[in-house]
């Protein structure tokens, strides 16, 4: 290999590394929480803090004023500070630290500049903004999913090739006083990687600075970089490859190089060299213990840790009941379930609740009635195994068929009407003939009688038909297959021979394998809001940003299936004949629970059902009362609260339908008996787990590699959105402007694509409702077993050993151990 070739591979490796640093951004139709720092996991938390601070000016901490407030209101005490200093091995003591904090003016960290930044300063013209604007506009056109009726003509080409075509016609640089750029554009290399090389050469970026420059360039257009990273993620799931992100990087760098080439001035050149020097100058390394922000953030987390640990270890041990429980209810691990489970257990003493990921372990994709496309209905890391179709209960093939055809026809008419409304030649007549109709719509949408547009799940179907829809466990008869949309030859439903295995893993993963109650309730969750671009962010993340209803109903159908039960018996799990599984949906906006297949219950269970419903009603009220305080309704009567929560589900102007997972800070893997007497204030994900039942710790491994990572992603989404909302959050919700159909939102008129959460989801106008802290994971299992999982899984190891989350172990006797970054366990 000669030197040039070595260079070659080196550059593409560098490019690859920079691209992998970017976290994917899911579209708003499935707004799944993503850890924005996902690509920095090979660094420790505090290294990543430095990296980001150096490049963007904002690291992983809040401004000092935030922590000062926490000190003032007692959320950070001197004890916490002392602990933090010890933990970070600081040479300071608390008084020294306090003195430093008092003296210190906020250190100004200037982000590393790109060429456009230097040029902007030189010419007093915001070139960086202009470039981001141009790229963002271009990407919106290239990736548009249907907003524009006139689609961009080069979408079959790669992002880079299409851009060259687009840019050669685009005259916007001309308005900025830049002439003849086409000469440069037509000389550009054919491939993105060569273009990157050309640009780096043109800008004379020293080899030592390349890594950071590439990363800084991608971060400057971070929203679209996230989108292209998502496309790559999806392609990889299909075992394909997508290089849009590399093309995007090339485009961003070409802008720099292009401007550099056109603006060749001596003084500018000097400034540029100075800027470059900052890249090559190594970062000033201050030991973590001497960084004020790091100490403050650590102390802030320690305060919560101590409360939580104390609460867990002093909670009264619950003695195991002898008699059979009336109802067992399984909820999603979501922090919102914690509030509800506590309420439910309070109103009904002989009730047992469980927590597991809200897709109930069934790896499925779901085909809505009349649709030709399956929606993934499982965590984003997993690949679906089953294709489940939505079907019409108690319908013969001809009836199903009739409704499918009707739905499709209605939707086609709806689409045609939409085009009629928005076409250049017809929108005028539309307004005069049908615009007045909007007066009625304005009134009824405003009051909340109607939704601005039909709900996607029931679009084109009358209410009575919608109520009969459910997921289908069995495959279709061939007759229906022909007519319906599940018409591929692929098998749909769960095959009978796989059912016992599937059922067993569901039950084992949630730790429910004996002592079944007469009614076992599986509760998925979903949120209700209207006119909310980020609505799916409030739905179940384990169901890929959708309601958990289908998963719960399918799991229940599976476990009520007599053949499955027979198979389970062979696997040593006996479900009594008088045990029935019922599915429910927890509406997290109103805290109401809707029950579905209650018709499976025989008359002998009628009283149980009545009892259950009344408990659920009471529990819902309790849960609402608790959540009301976050909305500032501490003293309001229950009826006011209920009415207000109802309003939030249908008020089209509501920017905070609910608080979602705000406040999340802990993930507890233990039997419910460990936490049942703790008030975890809706801040903890609860996963039921009893290690005594977990032979060879397969379940533990699953929990640590899947739900724990999902919880961590959610936790970091909130963290990033709060710490650096400008880059990892989506800004002000009242300015949201949906781009590309369902790609995402812009804030206001333009700028970069925005991911993450809006400020309204974190802050109530007076104070931050969320508290940015890393996830505190508590696992009740032998330490060696935990260590074993860590040793075998790189992703888990990175998270724990690079301190992206805090890991604790709960011992049999309730004492708590903490795993340090030195990999050693110490008693907490």
């Amino acid at each position: 290999m000669n030197a040039i070739e070595a260079n070659e591979t080196k550059l593409s490796e560098k490019v690859e590394i920079a691209c992998q640093r970017i976290a994917p951004l899911w579209p708003i139709q499935n707004l799944v929480a993503v850890n924005p720092y996902f690509g920095l996991h090979d660094q420790t938390f505090w290294q990543a803090h430095k990296t980001l601070e150096r490049i963007t000016g904002v690291g992983l901490c809040m401004p000092h004023t935030y922590y000062r407030e926490q000190i003032a209101n007692g959320r950070i005490t001197r004890v916490d500070l002392a602990e933090a200093l010890k933990e970070l091995r600081s040479s300071w003591d608390v008084s020294t630290f306090e003195q430093k904090l008092a003296e210190e003016t906020p250190a100004s960290v200037t982000p590393l500049p790109l060429f456009t930044d230097v040029l902007g300063e030189f010419e007093h013209l915001d070139w960086s903004n202009f470039v981001v604007e141009r790229i963002s506009q271009y990407c919106a056109a290239y990736f548009d999913e249907g907003q524009a009726l006139w689609a961009m003509p080069w979408r079959e080409k790669s992002l880079y090739e299409a851009w060259i075509q687009f840019a050669q016609i685009d005259k916007s640089t001309w308005t900025m006083g830049l002439r003849n750029i086409n000469k440069v554009l037509s000389d550009l290399p054919d491939t993105a990687i060569d273009a990157i090389r050309w640009a780096l050469h043109e800008l004379a970026i020293p080899v030592a600075a390349v890594d950071e420059y590439l990363y800084a360039a991608l971060l400057s257009i971070g929203g679209w970089a996230g989108w292209t990273r998502y496309l790559r993620w999806q392609a990889e799931l299909r075992k394909e490859r997508d290089d849009s992100i590399r093309d995007l990087l090339a485009i961003r760098l070409i802008w720099d190089a292009l401007l550099h080439k056109m603006r060749d001035r001596e003084k500018l050149h000097v400034q540029w060299l100075q800027a470059m020097a900052r890249y090559t100058k190594p970062a000033i390394s201050i030991q973590v213990g001497q960084q004020i922000s790091a100490v403050l953030q650590t102390a802030f987390e320690i305060n919560y840790q101590r409360q939580l640990a104390t609460s867990l270890s002093t909670a009264k041990e619950v003695t195991k009941r002898q008699e059979r429980t009336d109802v067992q209810a399984v909820f999603c691990i979501d922090v919102r379930s914690e509030v509800y489970r506590r309420a439910f257990e309070t109103v009904a003493s002989r009730v047992q609740t469980f927590g597991m990921a809200g897709f109930f372990g069934i790896p499925m994709e779901y085909v809505p009635l009349g649709s030709v496309k399956a929606k993934r209905h499982l965590p984003i890391f997993s690949t679906p195994i089953y294709r489940i179709c939505e079907h019409l209960d108690h319908a013969d093939p001809s009836e199903s068929n009739k409704w499918i055809v009707q739905r499709q026809t209605q939707m086609r008419v709806f689409d045609a009407w939409k085009i009629f409304k928005t076409s250049a030649s017809s929108c005028f007549s539309f307004v005069e003939a049908a615009g007045l109709w909007s007066i009625l719509k304005l009134i009824s949408d405003s009051i909340g009688w109607t939704r601005p547009v039909p709900h996607p799940d029931r679009k084109g179907l009358p209410e009575k038909i919608y109520r009969r829809l459910s997921p289908r466990l069995n495959s279709f008869d061939s007759a229906v297959k022909e007519t319906g949309t599940c018409m591929t030859d692929q098998f749909t439903g769960i095959p009978e021979d796989l059912r016992p295995t599937e059922a067993e893993s569901i039950l084992r993963n949630m730790g429910l394998i004996r002592d079944f109650a007469r009614i076992v309730l599986f509760v998925g969750h979903g949120s209700t809001s209207v006119n909310n671009p980020q609505a799916t962010a409030l739905d179940c993340g384990a169901c890929a940003g959708q309601s958990g209803e289908a998963s719960a109903r399918l799991a229940v159908a599976l476990l009520n299936d007599p053949k499955t039960r027979r198979g389970l018996l062979e696997k040593g799990i006996l479900i009594p004949d008088d045990t029935f599984f019922v599915a429910g949906l927890h509406d997290t906006t109103t805290d109401e629970i809707q029950l579905f297949n209650t018709e499976v219950l025989p008359s002998s269970h009628a009283d149980d059902l009545v009892q259950l419903r009344s408990w659920l009603d009471q529990a819902s009220q309790f849960a609402r009362l608790e959540r009301a305080s976050l909305f500032g309704m501490h003293d309001a009567p229950l009826t006011t609260i209920t009415a207000d929560f109802k309003r939030r589900t249908r008020d089209w102007a509501e920017v905070r339908p609910e608080w979602g997972l705000t406040g999340n800070a802990a993930f507890i893997v233990a039997p419910r008996s460990r936490t049942v007497n703790c008030n975890l204030a809706g801040r903890a994900f609860l996963h039921d787990y009893n290690w005594h039942d977990d032979t060879n710790f397969a379940t533990l491994q699953l929990i640590m590699t899947a739900p724990m990572i999902v919880a961590h992603w959610i936790n970091m989404q909130y963290y990033g959105s709060m710490v650096d909302n400008r880059r990892f959050g989506s800004g002000n919700k009242v300015l949201h402007n949906i781009v590309g159909g369902s790609i995402g939102v812009l804030e206001g008129n333009g700028g970069d694509l925005r991911g993450g959460l809006a400020l309204q989801s974190l802050h109530d106008g007076k104070r931050w409702i969320h508290e940015p802290m890393r996830l505190h994971v508590f696992i009740e299992a032998p330490r060696t077993a935990i260590d074993d999982v860590i040793a075998h899984h790189l992703i888990v190891r990175n998270l724990i050993e690079n301190a992206w989350l805090h890991l604790f172990q709960i011992d049999e006797d309730g004492s708590i151990f903490r795993r340090g970054t030195d990999k050693k366990w110490t008693r907490y």
Binding site: A433, A434, P452, N531, A653, R656
Partner: protein
């Protein structure tokens, strides 16, 4: 909030009294102006137009204010917002109700200044400041132009009352004096500037930098300031043929350009804003054709439609969450085009005749009929172009839909003619060759738009249309040039912003 409730109740009350037959013009205060400029009077002009507009604005204002109250929950400046919102709405009310030109002018300026407070609600957003400044500068040009027009009119006709213009004009025969001709031109200019017509449309597209309700208020109300001026001045403008012609041409050009830009827009709010620009062009076109009551219908319908569209713009994502329909390949053929045009001509003209439109007498209405025909052919084409799918049921639905549309269209037109016809001068169609040319041109533009859209799947790959696409997507650069121009009036604030970011204080910028 209270003030908005109050205004809605007042407007409903006013309509009630008006319906009872209390037609009067009440001066509350008047003040003589020097230099033969007549009087400045707070005088309400109560006529059909006033009442209809008041009702509309009060209704939309009420809905939008109610929305804002919830929408801005938690914003420390919510009350500030609502205060300026009420003031803007209030001054727009006085503009509508004013019977005196000078008082109209004061309200005109006040509305613009108050609205600016809302547009720049987020003062730290450079984009918001930039758009506001563009609007500010264009509005001041419109002010000067309006002032000059009023001076000319008042000095020539010796009245500063809108209601007296028509009478004052009846004594003049033949073509009007130069002063009035110039005044007409200035009025058209003011209206065009206020209506954000291409190429002055940039700020309208950028007001997304303000909270959604501001866009709703603007697009559903304030943007009609210019159109309203034309309606108030209809007696004068109807006498100046070239001014009418100018309105038609400007409107037609703007609507063609802006509606094509709308088709390329990839943002929901951007596309809604372009649509407003186009709709305003269409309305100016109707005014130019002398179809005043139709223009009022357009204002009302569009106002309600656009307010709803903006307020519900967050719902567009639901469309993409719905089930995915089986793919249907489409091919546009000439035969389908001819067939659907025939079908829609049959339906539109049939309904038109049934409703009692005399196409032979109202030549401007023929144009409207053609536009309607082109529009509903769009519905048929969507069905006919689909391949390998049972079309009978869809086609039947489309026939029903287009029958209803045509009925609604002509029905409403007739209704508004009855309601408002007496407020406006009789339709004077451009009868000369030039007039015929204009009518032909309008038809050609609409058919052209239809053709372009039909052919797009194929022609968009041709180099020429690639050029057209990129330039349209960039708004033909008019706004970028305007941006550079207004930046000359001082820094926009991004430098402070950049400074903050550079000093590592970007966290402050957001909170």
């Amino acid at each position: 909030m209270g003030s908005v409730w109050f205004s809605l109740i007042c407007a409903i009350g006013a309509t009630g009294t008006y319906a009872e037959g209390m037609v009067q013009s009440t001066p509350y205060f008047s003040f003589d102006l020097p230099f033969g400029l007549g009087q400045l009077a707070i005088r309400t002009e109560v006529n059909d137009l006033t009442v209809v507009m008041l009702l509309l604005v009060a209704f939309v204002g009420f809905i939008v204010a109610r929305y804002s109250y919830t929408y801005l929950d938690g914003d420390s400046r919510r009350m500030y917002f609502l205060r300026w919102f009420s003031l803007t709405l209030g001054s727009f009310f006085t503009l509508i109700a004013s019977g005196n030109m000078w008082f109209f002018m004061l309200s005109w300026i006040a509305t613009s200044l108050f609205l600016n407070k809302l547009l720049a609600f987020y003062r730290d957003r450079p984009g918001a400041v930039l758009a506001t400044r563009k609007k500010y500068l264009l509005d001041r040009i419109a002010d000067v132009s309006l002032f000059a027009a009023f001076v000319l009119i008042v000095r020539t006709l010796h009245t500063s009352q809108f209601s007296h213009i028509a009478t004052a004009l009846t004594v003049m025969h033949g073509s009007l004096p130069v002063a009035l001709q110039i005044a007409s031109g200035l009025l058209v200019l003011s209206a065009v500037l206020k209506s954000a017509q291409f190429p002055f449309h940039g700020w309208l597209i950028q007001v997304m930098e303000a909270p959604t309700p501001v866009s709703a208020l603007l697009h559903a109300g304030i943007i009609y300031t210019g159109a309203f001026l034309i309606l108030r001045m209809a007696p004068l403008l109807a006498r100046v043929e070239w001014a009418q012609g100018a309105l038609i041409l400007i409107g037609l050009f703007a609507l063609a350009m802006t509606s094509l830009m709308m088709m390329t827009s990839t943002q929901i709010k951007g596309s809604l804003a372009y649509s407003t620009g186009a709709q305003m062009g269409f309305m100016l076109l109707e005014c130019g054709l002398g179809l005043y009551s139709l223009a009022v219908l357009h204002i009302i319908s569009h106002s309600a439609y656009k307010a709803h569209a903006f307020l519900s713009s967050g719902s567009v994502v639901d469309h993409y969450r719905a089930p995915v329909l089986p793919h249907v390949s489409r091919t546009a053929t000439v035969w389908n085009l001819v067939l659907s045009l025939l079908l829609s001509t049959f339906i539109a003209s049939g309904i038109g005749i049934l409703v009692g439109v005399h196409f032979s007498k109202q030549r401007a209405l023929i144009v409207m009929g053609v536009i309607l025909t082109v529009a509903i052919s769009q519905l048929f084409l969507q069905v006919l172009n689909k391949q390998k799918i049972k079309k009978s049921r869809l086609l039947l639905t489309m026939i029903v839909v287009s029958l209803s549309i045509s009925t609604a269209y002509f029905g409403l037109d007739a209704l508004f003619e009855v309601l408002l016809g007496r407020s406006f001068p009789a339709v004077q169609v451009l009868t000369n060759t030039l007039g015929n040319l204009l009518l032909g041109l309008i038809t050609a533009v609409f058919v052209g738009l239809l053709l372009i859209q039909q052919m797009l799947p194929r022609i968009r790959y041709y180099p020429f249309w690639q050029y057209v696409y990129v330039h349209l997507y960039n708004g033909l650069y008019m706004d970028m040039l305007l941006t550079r121009w207004v930046q000359k009036f001082g820094p926009i604030g991004y430098l402070e912003f950049v400074q903050k970011v550079k000093e590592g204080r970007s966290q402050e910028v957001i909170s």
